[in-house]
Amino acid sequence: MTRKALHILAVTAPLFRCGLTRARSVSNFQSPKTQIAHQIYDLHFFVQAICAGICVAMFAVLFYAIVRFRKSPRRTALQFTGYRPVEIAWVIVPVLILLVMAVPATHAVFAMKDTSNSDITIKITGYQWQWRYDYLQEDIGFYSALSTPRAQIENREAKDENYLLEVDHPLVVPVGKKIRILVTANDVIHSWFVPAFGIKQDAIPGFIRDAWFRVDEPGVYRGQCAELCGKEHGFMPIVVNAVSEREYSAWLADQHAAKQSPAQASDAADAKTYSLEDLMSGGEKVYTHTCVGCQQANGQGLPPAFPALANGKTATGPVAGTIHIVMNGSTKNPAMAAWKNQLSDLELASVITYVRNSFGNSVGDLVEPSDIATVRHENP
């Protein structure tokens, strides 16, 4: 009986604790950084307080009954089967409580859905298994993929602070501006979720859905994909860099500049010739970052969904075939994506060379960045 009392206390106490702290903690919502997130935080506290109160009250009554009405020789059970006034009261009172909750709950829904008068529109596309951000008014776009090294995931290296919450190219937005996001997906349903913003929008392939946020404070905000989308669902995080307007303009200018001269950077790479060792070591890096999730570190893949590269027909056959499938993806097997827009000539050349000469393959040839450039030129 005392154990039951202690148990009840242990179970209910945290219900109080978690509502009271505003600091970032692992037992409550992350610190809210948008007005919507604040609204949700407060609404949740309100609803949770009412629910916790109801729980405590009912536990108390139940506990009292357990103690007070135990079977004993001195008393017998009263054989009543109902009591109309109480039965009516405990229908009416909950309805009233729900009505009280419904008012702020309704306000919050209207606020969440109001995407009008935004300053910037960003299209967010979910892929298996990374995100793509396109700034529609700026004609800038890039992919954003997990950058935590595989070695950390496989427990061969110590995990760093932002394990599984770091990407190569974060989304950059200015503080204080209303950002309207158009969320869609390339393949299956994903969901763009940033807890600090109070935003979660499912990404439905074939349709765009809009949502919005306005960040109050500069900072780096992290989230994860929130709809099961296949094997790497846990490995496609979201990182948003909220910066001052000046920094945002500077970043935009950098992005435009990089767009103007990818050819120059590429040309520099294309002009050089590379040794097999250089290509193999560079290729291994690309492979470990980009390919290993499906193809495995040993190139065995996971047939039939991911055919093995080791002694694979395309991997060891004519080099044009390997180049084609890596650049353009596979029509037969949609799991193999097209990488020509996401990898540079040098990266493509390196990883193709690596694949053709690893896992027991020893085709012996190498692919230069200039070869890739030629293929691009013929098939823009």
Partner: protein, 528 residues
């Protein structure tokens, strides 16, 4: 419910040539034997699903990938859900329905005994098909038990095996439900009007109608999935004019009534156990019946609360929010009525009552977290996080499963004529409730902090609570072996039990001897 004032003595049935051994079990049309088959099957599936859960929690014990590749992890989470819902919990409640409904209503057997046999024997092939899908090329389906398109369209042959298994499971549920509904409506003893039926019978009546209404919708959803996968239809494919969100609408139109199917019989069991151990009648019988019917009807109006983040307009978002919040009212009525039953009673806490009170305490937590999730704006933060996982495990494990334990301890002496070991059963309760809370309470915090569902690895701030949850899961899992031991020990060498078994037990089944004869109420009693 009125007391029975006249009992007709049961003459023994004349000698009938009954099969023995395996044929006895394969061909039985006896509701008690079929009930036993359902319960043994469901417990076996419970152990299978539980082992999958232990694999999942082992991987989640620490950050990083230790034991399982991500695709296998997703197969396990999917199959854990399908096996537990369709293989463990639903067949268990049907097993109790089979054993108890005829005895509680003074009927000799179910309305359609041969259909009863057929309904059960669909289950083992379905289970084999489902579990064998792990060995199909590509493994079992890994799309989550909710099977959302287009991910489920991408899956390998394991998905097709699961679809066929689901069809078999669905047919079994539907014919079982038809049998149960017909038995309740047409086989009650004379004088037992609807408003004199035990609550377990009432809840099963509503559940049976829900099953007949929504299992076919699930069947059509997975059939559409099948044809999208192989026969060129495009129900869920935008390219062909379809919509992936349509799958969610159809699935959850089934899925929400499904969770009421999983809990209403549990409510019925608690409504049987609490009055017995309070030694007074159920408080508010009439309002219990109304609340059950209200929940059955409301179940059809709230499916959208599983879809608050797909991009509804304001109108639907608000409608589903209000309708879902409203469900708290009849649920609350039930909880208040149970406490009202205990009020001014004469309470003892044998194992069935421990699980019933445990149910009330823990279901309350599950229920109020449902109200939190119903608030659409808050749900935006919590959808697809561990908060939802905690919520439905509170309602389905501490809810449905605890009620099944209560029911087992409550009725096993009637079925077997032997008492179970009360001390061990209390240990089973204590271990279960402590480890259950250790496993799932911390998941509310993980969800609040933003940990998504269905991920095999997680960022470091979630590590501590995941470790606690995994330890709790191991404890909870192994405690269920104690349950198995208690049941087996009871069946083989428990102390003899009386006909009434429990001092406060009221109802037709307690007028029969313990063990209940194989054919009971061959001549129906008359209720005054």
């Amino acid at each position: 419910m009125n007391e029975i004032q006249e009992i007709v003595v049961q003459p023994a049935v004349g000698p009938i040539e009954e099969p023995h051994g395996i044929m006895r079990w394969l061909t039985s049309t006896n509701h008690k034997e079929i009930g036993t088959l359902y319960l043994i099957f469901s417990f076996a599936m419970f152990l299978v699903g539980g082992s999958m859960a232990l694999c999942i929690r082992a991987e989640l014990f620490r950050p990083g990938l230790q034991f399982l590749r991500p695709e296998l992890f997703n197969q396990l989470t999917t199959m854990h859900g399908l096996v537990m819902v369709f293989g463990a919990v639903m067949p268990a409640f049907v097993g109790f329905a089979n054993w108890q409904l005829p005895m509680m209503m003074g009927a000799s057997d179910m309305a359609f005994p041969r259909l009863n046999n057929f309904g059960f024997w669909l289950l083992p092939p379905a289970a084999i098909l489902l579990i064998a899908s792990f060995f199909a090329p590509g493994g079992a389906t890994a799309a989550g038990w909710t099977l959302y398109a287009p991910l489920s369209v991408q899956m390998g042959p394991g998905m097709d095996m699961a679809i066929f298994a689901i069809h078999l499971l669905g047919i079994s549920s539907i014919v079982g439900a038809i049998n149960i509904a017909t038995t309740i409506l047409h086989r009650r003893a004379a004088g037992m009007t609807l408003m004199k039926m035990p609550m377990f019978v009432w809840t099963w009546l509503v559940t049976a109608f829900l099953l007949v209404a929504v299992m076919p919708v699930f069947a059509s959803a997975v059939t559409m999935l099948l044809t999208d996968r192989h026969f060129g239809t495009h129900f869920f494919n935008a390219a062909g004019g379809g919509d992936p969100v349509l799958f969610q609408h159809i699935f959850w139109f089934f899925g929400h009534p499904e969770v009421y199917i999983l809990i209403l019989p549990a409510f019925g069991i608690i409504s049987e156990v609490v009055p017995t151990f309070s030694r007074k009648p159920l408080f508010g019988y009439r309002s219990m019946v109304l609340a059950t019917c209200a929940m059955g009807m409301l179940a059809f109006l709230v499916w959208g609360h599983h879809m608050f983040t797909v991009g509804f307009g304001v109108g639907p978002e608000l409608f589903f929010m209000y309708a879902t919040m409203l469900v708290a009212v009849p649920t609350g009525v039930k909880l208040f009525n149970w406490i009202g039953t205990m009020w001014e009673g004469s309470l003892t806490f044998e194992a069935p009552m421990l699980f019933a009170v445990g149910f009330i305490l823990v279901f309350l937590v599950g229920g109020v977290t449902g109200v939190v999730l119903a608030v659409a704006a808050v749900d935006v933060q919590l959808q697809d996080t561990y908060y939802v996982v905690a919520h439905f495990h509170y309602t389905m494990v501490a809810g449905s499963l605890f009620s099944l334990f209560a029911a087992t301890y409550y009725w096993l002496p009637k079925w077997t004529g032997r008492m179970y070991d009360e001390t061990l059963a209390r240990w089973h309760f204590g271990l279960s409730i402590v480890f259950f809370n250790m496993t799932f309470f911390v998941m509310f915090f993980l969800g609040l902090a933003g940990m998504p569902r269905r991920i095999p690895d997680y960022p470091l701030q979630f590590a501590d609570f995941n470790m606690i949850a995994s330890i709790g899961a191991a404890g909870f899992g192994f405690s269920q072996l104690l349950f198995l031991y208690v049941v087996v020990k009871c069946v083989r060498r428990g102390a003899p039990a009386s006909a009434r078994v429990w001092e406060g037990a009221v109802g037709l089944e307690w007028t029969l001897p313990s063990p209940a004869p194989r054919n009971s109420f061959e001549i129906p009693p008359v209720i005054k």
